[in-house]
Symmetry: C2
Subunit: 331 residues, 2 copies
Amino acid sequence: MKKIINNPSDFVEESIAGLIKSHPDVYALAKDNNRVVTRSSKASNKVGIVTGGGSGHLPVFTGYIGKGFLDACAIGSVFASPSVDQMVSAIKNADNGNGVLCVIGNYGGDVMNFEMACEMVEADGVKTKKIIVADDIASASEEEKSKRRGIAGMIFIFKIAGAKAESGASLDEVFNTANEANENIRTLGVALSPCILPEAGKPTFEINDDEIEIGMGIHGEPGIKREKLKSANDLVDDLYERIIKDSKLKSGDNIAVMVNSLGATPLEELYIVSKKLNENLEKSNIKNNKTYVGRYATSMEMAGMSITTLKLNDNLKEMLLSDSHCPFWSN
Amino acid sequence: MKKIINNPSDFVEESIAGLIKSHPDVYALAKDNNRVVTRSSKASNKVGIVTGGGSGHLPVFTGYIGKGFLDACAIGSVFASPSVDQMVSAIKNADNGNGVLCVIGNYGGDVMNFEMACEMVEADGVKTKKIIVADDIASASEEEKSKRRGIAGMIFIFKIAGAKAESGASLDEVFNTANEANENIRTLGVALSPCILPEAGKPTFEINDDEIEIGMGIHGEPGIKREKLKSANDLVDDLYERIIKDSKLKSGDNIAVMVNSLGATPLEELYIVSKKLNENLEKSNIKNNKTYVGRYATSMEMAGMSITTLKLNDNLKEMLLSDSHCPFWSN
């Protein structure tokens, strides 16, 4: 295991401390919990936006705190859910009397703990609503959409919910806009190589040198199929057809897309993917309003990438493209 | 070789085409050369800023085109210098009658070809000046500074020269500011694992599973020493001492720092590095004005990182922190 770390058991705390030390104008550690990060300056008159989840996915989740994005985040150990207490702290730190929207990736522990946390803070008078992001079309059929996992599409929800909250909208309005975005997001990815968990020192899965796995989850959850490595164009065609079929995107629709690296896959490869993806969209006469290319949701040094589409209306487009301040987002 | 590519010989053209297709508001292909990228809207009344170099380092070089950054870039094959013709095209595309500053990484072919290109355009009436970036303290001693290679520190020069040009300064003024920054930059890196060249299909170098190489170049050029993997804190201390000694940074100085991943090394590890780096700076009473953490200058999927320090005065600080528009830079 070749990692630039100290004691593996300090991996999470040290990386959070480094994030805050590096960007003190954006992030701060919560006063009441060392696994909760908040904005450095608390917003005073808006709906709070909170998330939480396991470590090992930077910039997800904590990185997306900032003006026009999240207010607070509960941080679990590597690939592990945060505790209920951490989530309660994140929600209370984000609340300023206008209620809090929790944007949650659809993983068992995250959802269950956030449900308990929301009940607990409601008893203290904090109003909450929840969005469960389930954009990964590989993880369950359309009929069982509620079982789908949340992956890179989550960042579009962070951005849109964050922008809507910043505009002064009510909790119901922020929820409705985030929910509308959530209904219109689809992601499908491919894994090329595993990452190594710092404490275990072992790869998350094994895969042959000439194999890829379509739809594998960001923690190594089984995908749709394992097959021989193919060309970038054939791979994009495969993912594209599945996404279009599932999303029912059609000629004339407006969308935004994200081409996300799981970590090791370099920008050059992402842009080769983005070229073919944009060509396919042009052929389908689907109007791409904005392409995001980069490492938005990773699994440390895992190789692979995902494609996300978000169908836009005027409201979603305005929120997505609005100004924000976060080191991991370029407007 | 597990890469998401098509024909390896199309790697460069396809990744450029994807970059432009993904960000058509920022980049455009030059009309006269398919290996030259320009801004999508040519600036009309400022000094042009140009660079050029081999592919395989995104966002370096092409990615740093944008308002407040570069105007045009000549793009070589993977790890290979662009041709004189490509550089001539980049310079002419960037010129609008106010002269052009060429910011060049200190590699033999790049420097030689830019010198010839500058001579050729001067014959056509285009005034040019050159900054040779040589920030890598591992690649030659202080006495032989002019032999040092240019690595991640280059991006600080792109930003500062770009901002100065945008402010309406003359070619001499832009040169002087960029030159001042160049004198005050130091970078030192460490390599953990090689990248694989798409056409060759082979790793750029071999290194044992428990070894690192301090000061190895971004193309696998030999470094200062190869040694056993050590803790992040010990590694940062080693790099820090060498950088401070070389730069002569002292108590009370103002600086900015960059912690750059060579590609595969994830953000979590960079932030562990940044934590220790910032702690060392605090102990030395050196004032860090801004920390940049991310993949700013890569070698595809190479693992490793570098630390860059830039000593600031008021002018350099203002230029570094000024507004800009580039997908790979967050102000």
